[in-house]
Structure formats: C-alpha cells, structure tokens
Symmetry: none
DNA sequence: CGACGATTCAGGGAAAACCACTATGTACAC
DNA sequence: GTGTACATAGTGGTTTTCCCTGAATCGTCG
C-alpha cells in the first residue's frame, strides 16, 4: 500500500455534517480530508488550489449548486473525481450530475461504509452509483416499458409535464388543472404519472417537496 | 461526579450523517451514543427501551417527522431532553417543536462544537436555541411565556387543526396524515374541514396558498 | 418516408377523498 | 354541575384520484 493517502475535499453547506464526515474519513487509513467548503464557489477555489483526488459534493447548496460546481471543476481538473452526495434519489439529478462529470452518486441515507467505498471506487477510476437508485429506476418500469425499450436513461421533463407538476404541487386537483389547461382530466393524469415516474416521486407530498426544492412555490 | 456519560440517541434519516455525528459525540469524554434511528417511529421505540438523557432529533424525516416524534417521546418520558437538529431556520418549526416539548434547537449549518454544547446544555436542564434563530425572531420566547401564562388560545385555529392544514398543504393525503399523527382518517377529515371552513378555504389549492402566505412552506 | 418524442384522450376497477351529519370523552371555566 | 371548546371517531353516499393499458395526432430529424 502506497504511503499516499487519497486526498479528499468535502463540499456541503452543513458544517455539522461536514465535520462528521471528516472524522469518518480521517478514521480510514487510506484517505484524508484536506479541505472543506460550505458552498460550490468555495469548493471550486479549494479544488483549484489543492487538486484533490476526490471531491465529495453535496448537490443542493446556496450560492452555487453541486451540479454547476461539478461542471466547472471537471472542466479545469480532469483528474479529479467527483462523488455526488445527496438526499434525493432523483434520476434527473443523477443524469445531470453524470453529464456534468460526476462519476459517483450516493445517497445520504446510505451507510457510512458505502460512502467510504464509493470514495475508493471513484478514486480508482470506477463509476459508483447507489444501489438504491438502480433498484428504484426499475420501479419506474411501466414508464420505461412504454418508450425506453432497451434504453435505461430517463428523458428530461417536457414543458407540459412541468406545468402539470407545478399545478399539482400548488394543490390543484386533476380536474382544476384540466380546466385551466383546456385539456381532459385523462391527459392530466398521463402527464402527471409520467413526470412523477421520471423524477421518482411517489406521491403528492414528494411533488410538493420537489417543487419547493426547485423554488417553484412562492408566496404571491 | 458522574463517571456516567450522557446517554444520547440520534434520530436522522440519513445514515451517513448519523454515523458522522456518532464519531463526533463518542469522541467527547462526557457523552456517548447508545442508539440510532432512521425515522421517528424507530426513534420512539429506542427511546422507550433505553430512556436516554438526550435525543438528537432531525425535524424532517419519512414515516414520522421529528415534531410528532418529540411530542410522543415527551409524553412518555418527561425526563428525556429533546434537541432538534434541522437544516432550516423556520420559526414555525421552532414554535411547533417548542410546543411539542423540545428544549433545544440547532441548525445543521452550525459548527459541531455548537451541537456538542447544545447537547450538554439541554442535558443539564437548560434551554438551547440557536443564536442564528433568535435573531430571526423571538417566537420561542414569546410563545413559551404565553404558554406559561396559559394564554395560548390562538383564537380561531386550534393546534391540531393547524397541524393538519400544514400537512395538507405539504401534499400529504388524509391517510398519511392520520398515520403520522396516530389518529383515524375520519378525525383528519374533521379537522381539515373545520379549519378550512374557519379560514374560508375552498380547496387544497387555497390551503397551499394560505400556507405559503404564512411562510409555512419551505424547502426541506 | 420512418422513427421518435410530445401531446392528447379513453376505459375500467380499486382506492381515496370529500361531504354532511352525528356522537363521545375530557378539560376547563363560571 | 352546566356549558363550551377540543380532539376524537363513526355512517353512508358521492366524487375524484390513482393505476394500468392502449392509442391517435402532429411535428422534427435523418
């Protein structure tokens, strides 16, 4: 085993969580945390300066989110691997992160050992995507069966789907949405179930959570 | 002089974060983590079994949220102190938590040392509310003061009604609300229809609008 | 042209929500 | 001890959503 420990940077806006992860990672003999950052911008600066092996990146942060930060870091530092760490098992996020250059994606609900393993995996050049995610995306089967015969990737959200999802999150019933958009209730049902499958939202509460997260819901 | 360490239970749905906190807390000489739980329900079971000194409780969790779990634990275990740990400085949450019996409230963006300090504080019987919060509002103080004087009586809407309305606005179904609050679906229907009549809300969309206006809906 | 994606719509059965009305136990005040 | 407020729960009936399947129309792009 080389003397060289894996050099890790942590980017997360929650200090407590960051410090918890530090003590977990530093307890490993083969890796160490060389810097921390509280938002994407800071993370980029630290990465530029220190050229770490792995950046563990939270997805949702103030200032600059993890997707944009990932994109910028990868553009400048091709060698550095990015491991996304997020609370949301959202296939669209996963896809956007993969496109931005992340090679790993683990959920905050995973065990610590899994995160540690993921850091080792991406550092070695492998891809690591959370098992829970891969299983979930099978559960979206009825949608996939329709359009994605053979393909695994889930498409982006269409305008109409987003419109329906937004109105759903605002609490409108299918009937109200149908009237507002001059379409039938059945069409609303279709769009809703499709978009919810794409985003891995299981119920209306998930839809509200997603909309809040996107900043779609504001007092007006 | 107690050689007895403070016995702490952690409740948070994110395993990584939990384990990070464990290593932080166990590194202290005067406290130790005796159990963990991934949702409110589990947390209640563990607390019943182990009667800890302090429960560190995340607010937003699947199955049962921290507020309801706090209420139930306090009802059964008056001695146990509850320290709420949350990502968002939402005065409504803080008020509800205080009402439910939590005696401390710290933000995830705080430094680890502050969380450790807060655990010691609540364990000693003191209240601990995050400095960042107190600047935002003195809601807790005024709320507790009123509560002591028995002036809570929010006039129109009862606590239970507000709770049901909030969950409705968050998109939870009657069934989900009933499970969360340990009451029957019929009771949820009653509260919901009463509060909506009081506020002249005609449908769920109105409820969402009202909640947004009250600042009840935040990304979490 | 042919494939694909986006949008639209429908049937049918199970589940859930919605509505109006009634009712019980508890706590607290006067 | 009577009244009021509150939380709880029920009956019974109507409406709506949810879930699954299938399918027609209209662009665009190679």
């Amino acid at each position: 085993m080389g003397m060289n420990k894996l050099r890790v940077i942590l980017v997360d806006d929650h200090a407590v969580i960051r410090e918890g992860l530090v003590s977990l990672i530093d307890a490993q003999s083969d890796m160490q945390v060389i810097a921390q950052a509280g938002d994407g911008r800071e993370g980029i600066e630290q990465a530029r300066l220190l050229r770490p092996d792995v950046v563990v990146m939270d997805v949702s942060m103030p200032e600059m989110n993890g997707i944009e930060a990932t994109r910028i870091i990868k553009r400048e530092l091709a060698e550095t691997r990015i491991l996304a760490l997020t609370a949301y098992d959202n296939p669209v996020y996963m896809r956007q992160l993969a496109e931005a250059g992340a090679t790993g994606y683990v959920l905050k609900r995973s065990a610590a050992q899994e995160v540690i393993g993921a850091i080792r995996a991406v550092a070695s050049g492998a891809n690591y995507f959370d098992r829970a995610m891969m299983n979930e995306s099978n559960a979206v089967g009825s949608f996939n069966a329709k359009r994605l015969r053979g393909e695994i990737k889930s498409g982006e959200i269409t305008d109409r789907e987003q419109e329906v999802l937004l109105l759903t999150a605002h609490g409108y019933t299918n009937k109200e949405i149908a009237e507002r958009l001059y379409i039938s209730v059945k069409t609303v049902e279709t769009h809703k179930s499709n978009v919810m499958a794409k985003l891995n939202l299981k119920n209306r509460a998930d839809a509200v959570r997603y909309a809040l997260h996107q900043g779609w819901l504001r007092d007006s």
